[in-house]
């Protein structure tokens, strides 16, 4: 390093509220962080997911309780809130799956150009959010 080299700016201690909110994340960046968020969300809701499997598969009686949870709710939780939580799980699963498949594709085909990163990220977002809307509409009885 010569003396003529401009001193590199140093960044320390990023403030989550002041600095993170000013960064513009490219589509690939959104897909990436949402991949992490969706995974963590499913981790937290895993007992609920196992409960849904349990209740739906154990007996005809429990299956009726399962379908009733979407309409009449569960204990103190109203039906629409239960559906909302299930919609969050649906989004999390769809995004995580599609972003994961994108990972596998990029690994297998060595498709690591910046342009492909952008186009595949947009496809991921459109597909996952689109399918979430379609399944959510079905869940909330819109068709």
């Amino acid at each position: 390093m010569t003396e003529l080299t401009r001193k590199r700016p140093e960044f320390r201690n990023i403030n989550a509220f002041k600095d993170l909110t000013t960064y513009r994340l490219p589509p690939a960046g959104w897909v990436s962080i949402l991949h992490r968020v969706s995974g963590a969300l499913m981790f937290l809701l895993l007992p609920l997911i196992v409960w849904m499997f349990d209740t739906s598969v154990s007996s005809e009686l429990s299956f009726e309780r399962f379908t009733a949870a979407f309409a009449a709710g569960l204990g103190f939780v109203p039906g629409w809130f239960f559906k909302l939580v299930v919609l969050a799980v649906i989004w999390a699963y769809l995004h995580h799956l599609i972003a994961g498949l994108r990972h596998l594709f990029m690994d297998a085909r060595h498709a690591v150009t910046k342009e492909f990163g952008k186009s595949s990220a947009i496809v991921t977002l459109v597909l996952s959010i689109g399918l979430t809307v379609v399944l959510g509409a079905k869940l909330f009885g819109l068709y």
Partner: protein, 121 residues
């Protein structure tokens, strides 16, 4: 030279990178295939999905065994993912150990419950 030995040893990054990188992908592919198989069974059924069809999918012993494998794959996949999250954001080793234990207890609990459901059918 960083002070990284003896009592100052850092407990992350100990030769599990490639194994877990591959494990994520293998378990992911396994789970994706399993999901596709179940989804196709549901889509190509006649009439609405009632209890008989749904429970019928998991009735055969081979399907229970396969589903069990997928549950184990899920547990490993989630462990690697969550461990990476804790590793990235939680630097103090003491707190991170607690979170690792919590994560493992959470996952083993869910796995045990799911296995119980499968073999109760």
């Amino acid at each position: 030279m960083s002070v990284n030995f003896g009592s100052k040893r850092v407990v992350t990054g100990a030769h599990y990178g490639l194994r877990d990188w591959l494990a994520q992908r293998v378990t992911a592919a396994l789970m994706a295939l399993f999901t596709l198989v179940v989804l196709l069974q549901l889509l190509f059924s006649s009439g609405p999905v009632g209890y008989d069809l749904w429970a019928g999918i998991f009735a055969a012993q081979w399907m229970k065994a396969l589903t069990f494998v997928v549950f184990v794959a899920l547990a490993w996949h989630v462990w690697v993912g969550m461990r990476d999250i804790w590793m990235d954001y939680v630097k103090p080793a003491g707190i991170r150990v607690v979170l690792h234990v919590f994560t493992i207890v959470w996952l083993v609990g869910c796995l045990g419950w799911a296995v119980q459901v499968l073999w109760r059918l």
